[in-house]
Amino acid sequence: MSALKVDDDRRRQHSSASVARHPAHRSVIGLWSRLSRFDRAVLVVFVLILIIAAIGPFVAPYPPTVADPLQRLVSPNRAHPFGTDENGIDVLSRLIAAPRIDVLIAVIATTLSVAIGAPLGVVAGYFEGADRRAMRWISEATLRLLDVIQAFPVFILAMVLVAIHGTGPVNVVFAVAFVNFPVFLRLVRSEILSLREHLYAEAAVALGNSELGVGFKHLLPNAWPTVLVQVSVTIGFAVLLTAGLSFVGAGVSPPTPELGAMIASGAKFMITGQWWVAMFPGLLLGLIVFTFAAMGDIVGKLMEPGQRAIPSRRLLSNARIAPAAQAEAAAPSAQDAVLSVRGLAIEASGCPPILDGVSFDLMPGEILGVVGLPGSGKSILVRAILRLLGHGLQRRAGHVFFRGKDLAELDEKTLRAIRGSEILPLLPNAKSQLNPLVRVGDLMVAHIRAHNRCSRREAHARAARMLGAIGIGDAEHWLAAYPHELSGGMAQRVCLAIALVHRPPLIIADEPTAGLDVTVQRQVLDLMIELCHQSGAAQVLATRELGIVAHYCHRVAVLDEGLIVEMGPVRDVLLAPRHAVTRRLIAAADLRAVSTAPTTNTSSKMVP
C-alpha cells in the first residue's frame, strides 16, 4: 500500500514539473492545483521523508553506527552540522539513517492493522444488520470486547506486549498492529453500516449476491477513501508509538539508528547542556508525525470531489459590514414608513450580486409578501434586513432604513436594542432555531429581560401569559421543556410568542411554515396574522407559496435572481401578472392550492 502511495506521489511530483502533454497527467496536475501552498509543502516533505526512509543509510555523510571515541559530544560545527553523540557518531548521519526503521515499522504495522481490522469490520457491520439474532449478538459481543481492549491505554498495552515477547522490531510491529486494529474495525464497520443502506447495495443483494459477498465486493471498496485517511494518521501515531517504546527500552535498541532510542541516549546530556544529541531527533520525529497526520487531511480533501475551502462564516463580525460603496439611492424614505429598503445590493465576495437594487417601503401594519423561486434571494433579503448576513456575504450598496434610521450605521449596542424588541425574526424550521440545551422558558425570560428591566419572576410570568395568549395551554410545562421535546408546530408557536411579546412594529418572516405539516401551517399562519393585526405590526413575509401571499398579504413583491421584477397590490399582481416568473408561480400555486390547501383560493379570499 505504501509503495503504491510513493509511486503515486512521485508521479504527482514529476508531472507537475513537466509539461501537461499527456492527457493522463492532466488530472494529476488538476489535483496539484487544488492544493493550497501549505498542502503542497506537506506533500513535498512527505515525499522527502519517504525518500530518506528508502535510501537514508546509503547517503549519510558518516557511517551511522561506527563509533569514534575521539569525536565524543562535539557541538554542531561545519564538519558535523548537528554535532556528535556520546559515541562520537555524527548526529546528522544517524538522523538520515533513522527514519527508515521507524517508518518501516509503522507502515508494516498499520498495513497489518488494516488487514486484520477491515475484514472484521465488514463482518461486524454485516452481522449487525443481519436478520438473525445470533449474528447481531456476535457483532455486539465483538464490539464490547473491543471496548475492553481499548480500555487498556495504547502505550501500556504495546509496552506490555513487547515486554512479554521480548524487544525487537518484529515484536514492536505486532504490538503496534494489535493496538491499532480496533480503530480500523470500528471505522470499516460504521462505513459498511451506512453504505449498506444505499440502493446499489440493495440492488446487488436483490440480484442474488450473498450479503457478505456484497459487503466485501461492493461496500468495502467504497469505504477505502475513509480508511486511507485514517491509515495516514495512524502511520503517524505508529511512528510516535514505536519511538516511545524504544525510548523506554521496550522497542528497537541501539546501536540501530532509531529516533526514540536516540532521544533516550541524549536525555542525560539535555541536563548537562549537550542539547543537540536529543533535540534534533525529536524535531525530526515531530516533523514525520505531523506530515503523516497532515497527509491524512490532504488525502481526505482530495477524496471529496469539489470540496474547496469555504469562507468561514463569521457571525458576530457582521456588525462591521463594509460601508456602502456608493451613496446611490440614499433618497429619504417615505415619510412614515416602518421599513424602507433602498437600492440594496448584496454580494458574496467576487461573485455576481445575490440581491441587486432592491427597494420597497413598508407602512405600519402592512403585510408585504416576498415571493420567488427557490434561490431567488428571499432569505438573503430577510437576513440583510436583520443585519445578520454571515456566509461571507457583503452589502455592496443601498440602505435599510428602519423608522428613518439607517440600520447599517447603528452601533452594536443600539442595534442589539432594536433587534429583538422592534424588529423580530420568524425563521424557517423553528426547531433548529431554538438552542437544544436551553429551556424554552430560559430563552423567553432572557429575551424579555434583554429589552425590559424586570425581575426574573416577572419575566417568567409574562412569558407564561404570552404562551397562553397564543393558545398554548399548560404554559409552565412548556416553559420547562427543552426544544427536543417540542413538535415543529409548537416550536414555531414559541417563536411566534417570542416575536410578539414586545409588540414590535416590524416582523420579518422567512418561510415561517417550512417543515410544518399542512394543517399546522394554517393554524400558525392564522395566528400570526391575527396577532400582527392586533398589535399593528408590519410584516415582511418571504415565501415560495403564492397561496399564502394571496390569502394573507396586502402587497406582493416578486423576486427573481435578486431583482424585484414586479411589485404591487396582491390583487393587481395576481390577476394581471406581467412577468413570466409571476405566471409560473401562479401556475404552481394553483396546483398546490388544489392538492394541499383547498381553502386557499387565489382570487376570492383577499385581505382588503
Binding site: 506490555v160 512479554i164 541524549g266
Partner: protein, 343 residues
C-alpha cells in the same frame, strides 16, 4: 429519579466490564512463555519456593480454577509480589499512585484553566487584539500538538528551564533531594504541604510539578483544545446562535449558551484523552524521575518483573473504565437530548 435509574444502569455495565478486564489481564500473563510462578518469583528463586507458590496460586489446577483463584486474590486486594524488591504490588501501587494522580490532575487543570479559555477565545470571530492573538496561538499550537513526542518535549523543557534559564529544578523527582515529604493526607505533595502549613515544601513540590504537568497538558491537551475550538465555532455559526443574536440577547448570554453547546463534545474527547493519560504519565514520569506508577511499570518491564506489570495494567484499564463512566454521567447531566435517549 430518572437520573438515579440511569446511574444504576450505567453502574451495572461496569461489572461485566471490570470482569472482562480481569480476564484479559489474566490471559496476558498466561500468554507468557514459561511458568507464572517462576515468573513471579524471578530467575533466582529456588525450585522448592516456586513449587510452593505454584500450589498456593493453584496453578496446578485447570485454567478456570486458576482464573477463579486469581479473581479471589484480586478481590482480597492481593496483586502478587514483585520479585525484584519482594514487596507487595498492591502496596507499591498504592504508595505511588498519588504521584501519578497529582501529575494528571495538575496537567488537566492547566488544560482547563489556560488552554480551554484560549480555545474558546480563538473560536470567537471578534476582531479584537485578544481574539486575534489567541487565533495565532491556536493555529501554531494546532500544528504542533499531537506531533511532538511527550518524552522529547519534557527533555526540551528541562534543557530550557533548568539547564539554560535555571528557573525550574532538574528532573530529580517530586521534591528536592533534601526536602522531606509532608505528612500524608491526600498523597498530593502540593496539597499536603499546604495543609501542613509548610510553604517551603509547597513551593518545592509545585516547582517540581510544573514542568511535567506542562508537558502533559501540552501534549494531551491538543485534542481537547481542538475539539473545544471546533465545537465552539460550530455553535457560534449555528442557526440557534444567529436566532439568539437576532433577538438582541446580550452578547454574554449568547456566548455562554454557545459554550453550553460546545461542552458535550469536549467532555467526550476529554474522556478519550484521559484514557491516554496514564500511558503518557509512563513516559513523562520516566523523563522527570517522578516516582509514580508509570515509572514503576517501566522499571518492572526492564527487570521482567511480571506481577507489577499485571497489577499496573489492571489498574490502568480500570482507570479508563472509570473515566468512561464519569464521562457518561457528565453527558447525562449536561445534555438533555442524551438523557432523553439514554432513559
Amino acid at each position: 429519579m430518572r437520573t438515579l435509574k440511569y446511574v444504576g444502569r450505567r453502574l451495572l455495565v461496569l461489572v461485566p466490564q471490570l470482569f472482562l478486564i480481569s480476564i484479559v489481564t489474566f490471559t496476558l500473563v498466561r500468554m507468557l512463555p514459561g511458568d507464572p510462578a517462576r515468573l513471579e518469583l524471578g530467575p533466582l528463586a529456588p525450585e522448592e519456593g516456586v513449587e510452593l507458590l505454584r500450589h498456593q496460586l493453584r496453578l496446578d489446577e485447570p485454567l478456570p480454577q486458576q482464573y477463579i483463584a486469581y479473581l479471589q486474590r484480586l478481590l482480597q486486594g492481593d496483586f502478587g509480589r514483585s520479585w525484584v524488591n519482594s514487596s507487595s504490588v498492591a502496596q507499591d501501587l498504592l504508595v505511588r499512585a498519588p504521584a501519578t494522580l497529582e501529575l494528571i490532575t495538575a496537567g488537566m487543570l492547566i488544560v482547563l484553566v489556560i488552554m480551554v479559555p484560549i480555545a474558546l477565545l480563538s473560536a470567537s470571530p471578534s476582531r479584537g487584539w485578544l481574539a486575534r492573538a489567541t487565533r495565532r496561538v491556536s493555529f501554531g499550537y494546532g500544528l504542533l500538538a499531537g506531533a511532538l513526542p511527550d518524552f522529547w518535549l519534557g527533555l526540551v523543557l528541562i534543557f530550557v528551564f533548568f539547564s539554560v534559564l535555571g528557573w525550574a529544578p532538574g528532573p530529580e523527582g517530586r521534591l528536592a533531594i533534601l526536602d522531606l515529604p509532608p505528612a500524608r493526607v491526600t498523597g498530593f505533595y502540593v496539597v499536603d504541604a499546604l495543609l501542613a502549613g509548610n510553604f517551603d515544601t509547597f513551593r518545592s513540590a509545585l516547582s517540581h510539578l510544573a514542568l511535567p504537568a506542562v508537558t502533559l497538558a501540552f501534549v494531551y491537551g491538543g485534542p481537547i483544545f481542538k475539539m473545544v475550538r471546533a465545537s465552539m465555532e460550530a455553535a457560534l455559526r449555528s442557526d440557534y446562535t444567529i436566532y439568539a443574536e437576532s433577538l438582541g440577547l446580550p452578547r454574554r448570554t449568547v456566548l455562554l449558551w454557545a459554550m453550553r453547546n460546545a461542552a458535550p463534545p469536549a467532555v467526550v474527547v476529554t474522556g478519550v484523552v484521559a484514557g491516554y493519560l496514564l500511558g503518557g504519565a509512563v513516559l513523562i514520569e520516566t523523563v522527570f524521575n517522578l516516582n509514580g506508577i508509570g515509572r514503576y511499570a517501566v522499571q518492572s518491564i526492564t527487570t521482567a518483573d511480571y506481577a507489577p506489570i499485571q497489577g499496573f495494567v489492571l489498574v490502568a484499564a480500570a482507570f479508563t473504565v472509570m473515566v468512561n463512566l464519569i464521562v457518561d454521567l457528565l453527558q447525562f447531566m449536561i445534555d438533555p437530548r442524551f438523557s432523553a435517549r439514554a432513559s
